[in-house]
């Protein structure tokens, strides 16, 4: 087990598209252990992707089970070759990144997604995610495609919340 170095902006490797994993062996499992240890070593990150430590392969870990206020989640997931198959709705939320220290900003993400991925042993899994967990997954899949959240920033004046309230038929009176 080892804590790996996190690549930071403007490292060009963060902008590269990662390759699919083809070999499911002990080396992969050992790397995943290191990746998880690295995620836990830093400032409370809910996710990490392999390219953030310089390994340009489609591997990510998310864990939304420890948020201040509990959110719907599937616990800790190690996702190999993850693929989002359906997107629904949109939501504004604040994000930061281990690879972009000292900055947070607003990003629009799909509110609900369906996705599939392989386990570290190569077995297919499918998940439906919503809200915070869906956001975490989209953030990590972006890393695998060479995108950072700062590539998706929206102006702080962008306010989708209002529209969302209207869609739900108006807010309740206080």
């Amino acid at each position: 087990m080892a804590i790996l170095d996190i690549l930071k902006l403007p490292d060009p490797r963060l902008k590269e598209v990662s390759q699919e994993v083809e070999r499911f062996d002990d080396e992969l499992l050992a790397f995943i252990d290191d990746l998880e240890e690295t995620r836990q070593a830093g400032p409370a990150a809910v996710g990490i992707a392999a390219p953030q430590v310089g390994r340009l392969q489609r591997i990510a870990i998310i864990d939304c089970s420890t948020t201040r206020k509990p959110v719907p989640n599937h616990g800790r997931l190690v996702l190999v070759n993850p693929e989002i198959t359906e997107w629904d709705g949109f939501e504004l939320g604040r994000e930061g990144c281990l690879s972009v220290p000292d900055y947070t900003g607003n990003v629009i993400r799909a509110e609900r997604i369906k996705m599939r991925a392989l386990t570290p042993e190569g077995e297919l899994r499918e998940y439906e995610m919503e809200g915070y967990e869906a956001r975490a997954l989209q953030h990590e899949v972006d890393h695998l495609d060479g995108m950072l959240f700062i590539d998706r920033l929206v102006s702080r004046r962008t306010d989708l919340f209002q529209r969302k309230v209207y869609q739900k038929g108006g807010k309740k009176r206080k």
């Binding site: 400032p43 990490i48 201040r68 604040r94 281990l98 947070t104």
Partner: protein, 172 residues
Amino acid sequence: MKWQMLTLVGEDQPGIVAQVTDALFRGGYTLGEASMLRLGGNFTIMMMVDGGQSEQALSACIAPIADRLGLRFHLDPIHGGLHQHRVPNFQVRVNGADRAGIVAQVTGLLAESGFNILELDSDVVGSRDEPVYIMTIQGYAEETIETLEAALGKLETDEIDVHVSAIETLIG
């Protein structure tokens, strides 16, 4: 490094940012955090500028551009510097019929709860006959959302909607 806060205001027109920052770049100054916004037909700049040799020199660098573009500016030496961000954990949204005192009442109740405003955007929209006020506040508070909601519940009006939500910043 010693920072100056440059405040610059004037009638909006294309090229203000380009000309001001070009003059600063040629003068050997560096820029820090900035907020630039069109407010009521004016363009406003609040920008951290690395003070260089002296306030006078910085002022002399900007003055010709400001004269040419009809802008007023002001410099303040500031304490602090870069990398002092605070991440907001609450957002407060306010909207309703525009009337005097909304901002004072809402922010007064928030201040009593120890809420530190980090960002505030407000606008008057709607029509001239029926103006609507919209405000978004992002800030930091140690209190729970229930405490903030209870505090804002003291607003004695049903003309405006006030809504608090937690911001759970995702780090990934």
